[in-house]
């Protein structure tokens, strides 16, 4: 799997934990932003969905922090977790949001994010030199795979929305 252009280079365990942690933290922030958008745009169901997703990512972040032990994931995350092109893998695509979006859409966003994260860690497994890094990265691959499967399971609960999902009988309003 080729490295995503702009992705950070991970060589050490500190790099790995830092990057993994930052990915989750970025995801939390992103889902919070989306929750706020949904709140302002009066889509309460989606507020809950995004807040739940944010919470879930927060839990992942805490797990990583725990797993990292003595490694200061916050510090290393800030140092290494920068994507110069594209975004952090689990940052949901803001461009795909819509004020009338449904949980199905959010889960598609989440799915895409988990898949990107999976690809990121897979690449590290394939290319890292440090055995400890490879081993840990493989664990992350497993975790992300689990996340992907989880999202798939959740998606089964939600039907594909009808084509009319974005239809709003009211026209847009001129504000200024």
């Amino acid at each position: 799997m080729s490295k995503t252009p702009g992705a950070p280079t991970v060589s050490t365990l500190a790099d790995l934990f830092g990057a993994a942690y930052q990915i989750e933290i970025d995801a939390v922030e992103r889902y919070k932003i989306l929750a706020d958008q949904m709140e302002i745009h009066n889509n309460p169901e989606m507020v809950d969905v995004f807040r739940d997703l944010a919470r879930a990512e927060g839990i992942h972040a805490e797990e990583i922090r725990r797993q990292a032990g003595a490694i200061d994931v916050v510090e290393h995350g800030r140092r290494v977790g920068k994507w110069t092109k594209g975004e952090s893998p689990e940052e949901a695509d803001l461009g795909a949001a819509h004020y009338m979006m449904t949980p199905w859409h959010a889960l598609q966003m989440a799915l895409a994010g988990e898949k990107r994260a999976l690809a990121f860690f897979t690449h590290i497994v394939e290319t890292a030199k440090d055995q400890k890094v490879i081993k840990m990265a493989a664990e992350f691959v497993e975790e992300e795979t689990e996340h992907v499967n989880l999202v798939h399971r959740l998606l089964r609960k939600y039907p594909v929305p009808p084509e009319s999902w974005p239809q709003d009988p009211d026209p847009p309003v001129s504000q200024e």
């Binding site: 110069t84 594209g86 975004e87 819509h98 026209p171 001129s174």
Partner: protein, 282 residues
Amino acid sequence: MEEMILTVDTQLACKPSDYRSDVKPVWCPGCGDYHVLMAFTRAFAQLAVPAEQIAVISGIGCSSRIPAYTNCYGFHGVHGRSLALASGLKVTRPDLTVVVASGDGDGYSIGGNHFLHACRRNIDMTYVVMDNRVYGMTKGQPSPTTEPDFDTAISPGGTGLSPFHPLVNALASGANFIARCFAGEPNETAAILVEAIRHPGFSFVEILSPCVTYRPDQKAWKDLVHPAPVGATNDPAKAARRIMTDDGFNIGILYRGERRPYQPKFGRQSLDPSELEQEFEI
């Protein structure tokens, strides 16, 4: 004028979230401007300039809502005049980092004249125009950058007018730094904003920022944008050729000029005001 003491603990102001206010944006979900806001806060964090040393000046339009969403000083002025507000501010407060935010209507239509003269004047500031090729705030009328065949209620069948070319005009008018970004790449955009802000003189950054409500066709932009085939030049003639022939989706820094920024002397007195009456004495 008391001196503004820059704090040493810039560590505090290093996170993008430090540059975000608690005001929740009213932009439509899916709007490119959310990414631009992100790019702003990331750029400010990278520059590590304290939030109180930054002034974000805007006019009217969706993009112009951005100042209140940052934790910097801001001015939400009237339509088309943000560059003038910013010019008066920067000349008298050269210590501030001044970023001007506008849109294609605010900046290129009603603000067109000020755009030309701001490029010409070359005061040290950064002008960010969120271009979505439509008037989003007022229900979807064409802007100067709208394609000639784009159908709207106010111009059925399209305007038939050749779109305004902001980068060409910026170069011709003397802008000292010209770049184009895509909102969908907020980290790249942040990096370019950092360079734009650091570059002395008038830096112009046009950000293609899709309008989810009136231009859903702009979802295709993420597949149309591409890195500029060549790096930035400091030769206006070369830049002119490149910019005149560019397809509108070249992303990157296109021109880095070497003009000295315009900053008249300010704040240093060589004559006491009480002596001014002497010329009238009979």
